[in-house]
Amino acid sequence: MSAGLTARRVARLGMLGGMGVIYLALVGMVQTFDGVRLVGDQVTLGRVLLILPPLSAAYVLARPRIVAGEAVKPDGRAALVGGAIIGVTGGALVGLSIVVANGLPERFAAQKIFTSVTPALISVVTFDRAIAPGIGMLVVLATVAGAAGAGLAVLGWKIRRPLITGLLVVLLLSMLQNVFRVMIGQLGLDTAWLYSVRLGGLTYIGAILTFAVPAGISAFWANEGITLRQRLSGATREGQRQVRLLAVAAVGLLLAVLPFLLGSFLSAVLGRVGLFLLMGLGLNIVVGYAGLLDLGYVAFFAVGAYAMGVLTAAANSGSSIHVGMGFFEAVPIVVLLAAVTGLLIGAPVLRLRGDYLAIVTLGFGEIARVLVTSDALKSFLGGAQGLIAIPAPSFTIGGLNVDFRDPQPFYYLVLVFCVLAGFVSYRLANSRIGRAWVAMREDEQVSEVMGVSTVRYKLLAFATGAAVGSVSGALFAVQIGSLAPTSFNILISIQALAIIILGGMGSIPGVVVGALVLVGIPGFLTEFETYQLLIYGAVLIGIMLYRPEGLIPNVRRTRELKEEDRLQDAWSKGAPDAEPATISWEEAPG
């Protein structure tokens, strides 16, 4: 029992699994996502959510536990049984609450408090059957899920990883079927074998193939990957550079043709991802590099948007100022203005550290929001009505009129600025300035003693971050052509923060992944939009609790966060179930 398979723990995890399902149902996710068909017409995302909590609980149960610094693997068969019990318990708890909700004297009395408890929800969780057989089916499925979760944990990583990879690919392809169907169609290929129009999800053959192929590749990589990687690192410098160039070229080509594959509507989503990517890159300089938690980043976004609006808008824009500049002439002015704002906001808060800085910048963000809405500045910024008639740059090439407000040209415009910002960030990180920021982040006093002027470098971080964020705001103004003050609220700051937290503070690939996941998925799959902020909240908590360094961590940042327990962890996780990926991060560049 040293591996923690006690009856108490099993019961607790079972209850937690059940409560997880109930939570997802009450918050409305189960019912909303029941409309998202994954495979065929029976496997919906809503139903997956019904079995996911017990599955995860069982997985947690069967993971090796660290007892006195040593990883103890639970006995396989006992873990499977424990997982199944978790499933039964969780399923029974859910079943019980269905009975209660259904059997209250006034039918659906629960709906008076919980808006999601409707007859429709009951029929979703009972699989469109009568109550008794429906609950029976739920319990059976939960039990299977529990056993499967435990099984996943008990299997070695060489089996687990291909399985999870395959499942994730199936999930991604089926969830984002409106994206991939369009893409594959644009390539002139047939999609009928993969997506069934009649059933609404993947075809069964399609699902099996999309599971098997990535799983196979992943299994091959798990067995041969180390040798391949060794061969790669053993290759000459020239060879390594060629491989890297090839990879960059491939990504570049994909980015260049993406809008044509996706069409206009989905390109607009990509444009939005780009805007947030840009903001994430800017905030990453302030938070990730310099370690200054700025919760008022929306202020710079607003400065960029409004400055661009005022400088370029036509005479009837709602502002008394009329300049009528072109977009490209205005960009340098906007950037300069934002950098100055960054200095102005940065200067008074230099003395503050950590959490106080966060709250003060939050205050600045709110001040910015109130100011743009207020009547006091109405004659300049349009007040509550905002600004209208902001033109988008356009040019004519060979009789073809390119207007940057159209989603596809806009995508390229954003892409250019993102690449620029990414390049600047990358170069900054590896420059003397970047190292000064790191030193300051790790220990302000020591870095001061070592001769880093913290005043100068803090201001520099604020100004640079502000400049990048303002470009995002300026592009936003171009994209929508009118500015409403309600778009500039604290949620923008928190969204940008969530992006860099998910990806990993201080890591540029992390920001890209964060923006794609947190802005892209809700953009592509409209069902997610309602729960976007809920998911952001969960991401912030989950990442900070379980993986503070983010999904694609920055090496040095990881060291800071895990300084103390790193050695012990490496030692205790050691032999039995160690995955090689943890080692490779250590060598990955910035």
């Binding site: 003060v360 600045f364 909240g537």
Partner: protein, 368 residues
């Protein structure tokens, strides 16, 4: 990489002339004083001009002041939750506004039932007592859950980690409430007896405001007695002083921390019922702005200090109620009341810059 980095940073110190000039000229100080004196002069000039204008009568100022005190009392109650958690864990429980919201929602459903059965109108005192208990239970539940699930394992993490977690928790709770109960704001039923005014010391004051002020004072006195007199209060003070030593003295730190969160939740629950009496609405996002304002009040009074939270709440409430009309009307600003929040946040910024320890706090450099 590490060694190279260090070497280059050291290099910077080889430009002593430049650095020396920077450190001799106190840019930061000068900027701070210019900003501070500027703001003060502006406020004084605005006040002078407003009084010259004479647009508001004495009674109007008096009503604004009373409203400010009532508002400040609610801020103070919420602020106590921030200040106690900060005093003990050195973390900003950003989700405390949502703890407040949870109490309001919990009591809302009971209030609705009481209203439908007619009990709320026939027995207003008993009803309010019931609502207080329910709201406290709701808030305490969420506060304790928050501590257990989100904060406990982060006690030794770098300071920004629990703050980010708390921001996430705030967002998560807001949107959970939105999913559970729907996004709309709803009317909160109140006993009709509370309409109208009572005359206190010759001044007619809205009954709700009297109850808010009296209720808040009672709650705060209760809290001060609890912390000063009881054994648990003593262990709370010990843990706030030094967690490790306290645990060596046989104090169960985990229990004290949970108690702290629970007391913060209780006060937030009381604040929630008082708040709904005045504003008569509940909604999933109702906790955010009062939460930030209350935090401002806590910082203004000196975070970690109970009396400071009360004082900070009072000052903030008053400044917010009177400030826009008093300072801004005279400056010719259009729609001064829209800028209420700007005043609150400017106060926060100014306090942190000039007296980071707050009015009653010690000016500890380390804390900031």
């Amino acid at each position: 990489m590490m060694t190279r980095g260090t070497a280059d940073v050291v290099e910077t110190s080889e430009a002593p002339a430049e650095l020396g000039r920077l450190s001799r000229f106190p840019v930061r100080r000068v900027v701070q004083w210019v900003v501070g004196v500027g703001v003060l002069l502006l406020a004084a000039y605005g006040t002078y001009e407003t009084i010259q204008l004479g647009r508001f009568s004495g009674a109007a100022w008096r009503d604004l002041l009373v409203f400010g005190v009532a508002q400040g009392a609610i801020y103070a109650l919420i602020a106590l939750g921030y200040t106690m958690v900060y005093g003990i864990l050195n973390m900003i429980n950003f989700a405390h506004g949502e703890v407040f919201m949870a109490g309001a929602f919990a009591s809302y459903f009971v209030a609705r039932t009481l209203q439908n059965s007619g009990f709320l109108q026939s027995n207003p005192v008993v009803s309010i007592a019931i609502l207080m208990v329910v709201a406290m239970a709701g808030s305490v539940g969420v506060a304790v859950l928050l501590e257990r699930v989100a904060y406990r394992r982060l006690r030794k993490a770098p300071r920004l980690v629990p703050l980010i977690t708390a921001i996430g928790a705030s967002l998560f709770l807001q949107n959970t409430a939105k999913g559970f109960f729907g996004p709309q704001t709803r009317g909160y039923p109140t006993p009709d007896v509370l309409g109208g005014t009572w005359t206190v010391l010759g001044i007619p004051i809205l009954r709700t405001q009297v109850i808010v002020i009296v209720g808040a004072i009672l709650a705060m006195v209760g809290l001060i007695m609890f912390v000063a007199r009881t054994r648990t209060g003593k262990s709370m003070r010990a843990v706030a002083e030094d967690k490790e030593i306290a645990s060596l003295m046989g104090i169960d730190v985990d229990r004290v921390v949970v108690t702290t969160f629970a007391i913060g939740g209780m006060l937030a629950g009381i604040a929630a019922v008082l708040f709904t009496m005045v504003f008569q609405v509940v909604g999933p996002f109702m906790g955010f702005i009062p939460g930030i304002k209350a935090f401002t009040a806590a910082v203004l009074g000196g975070i970690g200090s109970i009396a400071g939270a009360a004082l900070g709440g009072l000052i903030l409430g008053l400044l917010e109620a009177v400030g826009p009309s008093l300072f801004l009307t005279g400056l010719g600003v259009k729609g001064p009341n829209q800028l209420k929040d700007v005043i609150a946040f400017s106060i926060l910024v100014l306090v942190l810059i000039f007296r980071p320890g707050g009015l009653l706090g010690s000016d500890e450099a380390e804390k900031v």
